[in-house]
């Protein structure tokens, strides 16, 4: 009996120290000068632009990584080809590489002065670094593995019999995918989408390197938080943090809302 309670207290205490107290303090600090001050801090033009830019990152990176993730998972689970193991390993690269390194790598490739293709792109009037495209690339890079990693196990679990049954019933490959495979793996994909979204919302390091941090131009919500903090604007930093936390919460709730009743836990 006693050991069971001890285990619970240990788990809850650990969570409280690591997660609970810091998050609560963020909320407390955000509203220390009142709700009005917090509201004003996150509705300045720079703040609004920062949130908008973050939503652009999410809006581009999440759909692209979802489509890529499902296709990559299908290739890894259902096909046998040379380089399959390499693909499988390469997908985890963003987990292994520090986001700052990712940012620097993007500078090497797309930088307008000494990047591999940066010169050529600059000559054609396309600016990647210190601009939105580079930040989107950075966000996509760091949030790449989630959909693949969440989809692979469910794809393995459902096996191939349902797809074979669909084929014998007259369904072509596309019909089989959209009517049988996708509905069967949808919760794995959805969870991957939630994680991808959370990662894209919170990305700091890689985006910070390639953005140039131009306030009101290439400043995402996380960069905005840091900027306010460095300028001793605690209310602005904490209030923007609260908005980011709420956005992540909305994503989680959205997934729960579309989940059918019987699989809700």
């Amino acid at each position: 009996m006693r050991s069971r309670y001890a285990l619970r207290f240990l788990a809850l205490g650990y969570l409280a120290l690591l997660l609970g107290i810091p998050v609560v303090l963020v909320f407390v600090n955000a509203f220390q000068d009142g709700v009005g001050a917090a509201w004003n801090a996150v509705t300045t033009p720079e703040a609004q632009h920062a949130f908008f830019l973050t939503l652009v990152m999410v809006g581009v990176a999440v759909p692209l990584n979802t489509v890529f993730g499902v296709l990559a998972a299908l290739a890894i689970v259902r096909q046998r080809f040379r380089g399959r193991a390499l693909l499988n390993a390469a997908i985890d690269l963003p987990f292994a590489v520090s986001p700052v390194v990712v940012g620097l790598a993007l500078l090497f490739v797309y930088g307008s002065r000494d990047g591999w293709v940066g010169d050529w792109l600059a000559a054609h009037g396309i600016r990647v670094i210190f601009s939105t495209p580079g930040m989107i690339l950075a966000t996509m890079f760091v949030s790449l593995p989630f959909v693949v990693r969440e989809t692979i196990p469910v794809l393995r679990e459902i096996g191939t019999e349902q797809e074979q049954a669909a084929a014998t019933l007259g369904a072509g490959p596309m019909q089989t995918f959209f009517r049988v495979t996708l509905p069967a793996i949808r919760w794995g994909v959805a969870y991957g989408v939630v994680l991808t979204t959370a990662r894209a919302l919170g990305e700091f390091g890689a985006v910070s390197v390639v953005s140039g941090r131009i306030s009101g131009e290439t400043q995402t919500a996380t960069l905005f938080v840091e900027d306010r903090f460095e300028h001793f604007n605690a209310t602005g930093a904490y209030a923007a943090s609260v908005v980011l936390a709420l956005l992540a919460l909305v994503t989680l709730l959205a997934m729960n809302a579309i989940k059918p009743k019987e699989s809700r836990t």
Binding site: E161, Q162, Q164, A165, A166, A167, T168, L169, G170, A171, G172, Q175, R179, V180, P183, A184
Partner: protein, 322 residues
Amino acid sequence: MSIVVDSVSKRFGDYTALDDVSLEVRDGSLTALLGPSGGGKSTLLRVIAGLETPDSGAVSIAGEDATSKPPQRRNVGFVFQHYAAFKHMTVAKNVAFGLTIRKRQKDEIDARVDELLRLVHLDGFAHRYPSQLSGGQRQRMALARALAVQPRVLLLDEPFGALDATVRKELRAWLRRLHEQVHVTTVFVTHDQEEAMEVAEQIVVLNEGRIEQVGSPQQLYENPANDFVMGFIGPVSELSGRWIRPHDVEILREPADQAAAAMIDRIVHLGFEVRVELSLGNGDKTWVQTTKAQAEELELSDGDIVWLRASGVPVALVQPSH
């Protein structure tokens, strides 16, 4: 001929699943592919459905060459051992799947689904999900789904293999009756000789990727082509170096021509049937199947010395190859 398989071979790495197999299946017949696991029977069924591509040979269905056609264009119904139910669809949607793919009118689909659910005794289950059905019900749903598109042939891969013994017996009898009603050419895979004998009109015995024999249950039992078929299709006793059905051995109280002496080790009473286990002079063990009445008439008891010989007309007698 409804299905013609012509010299089909299929290898998986070093393992030969099918070795130059040829087979013809008559229109409207009910055929069993019978054999031990790994004998190639499921591979043959999957080659017919187009779920496996043969390394060589040809398959034709209803007179058309189907060898290079993908499964979706062969118009076969396929039933899997583990049902392969579409878990996210209701029973009605599962059964309707093939018709929805074929873009039939909604009224037509609804009517056909109703008809099929009645046929497989699942009317009233239309709006349930597969997870709310028992194994037997799921398999009947899978069968309705396969029949919905009016396939030219119905293929069943160990359809009752995952079900418990009682349900399996019920479904066997039911499949037979269904075949009489629907009359679609049906091929099913089984490793259970009793199931094959009870359900099928024609049995194809497959072993190590080759067809050992094709025939009616009676032909296989009475005229097995070799010791494998004889051993697989029914019980076997060895007598004077030959294999014989244990009910074709006569027990004599006195020595006689062509009769071998043996000592009774044990008598097992199984109701009507009595099984007598014996040791022959050279130490070999054998057994004889007899009736309660005969055992009583001969007054058999443990330790008795008796003489064994093949009875008047043995139904099968095979020289074992080993």
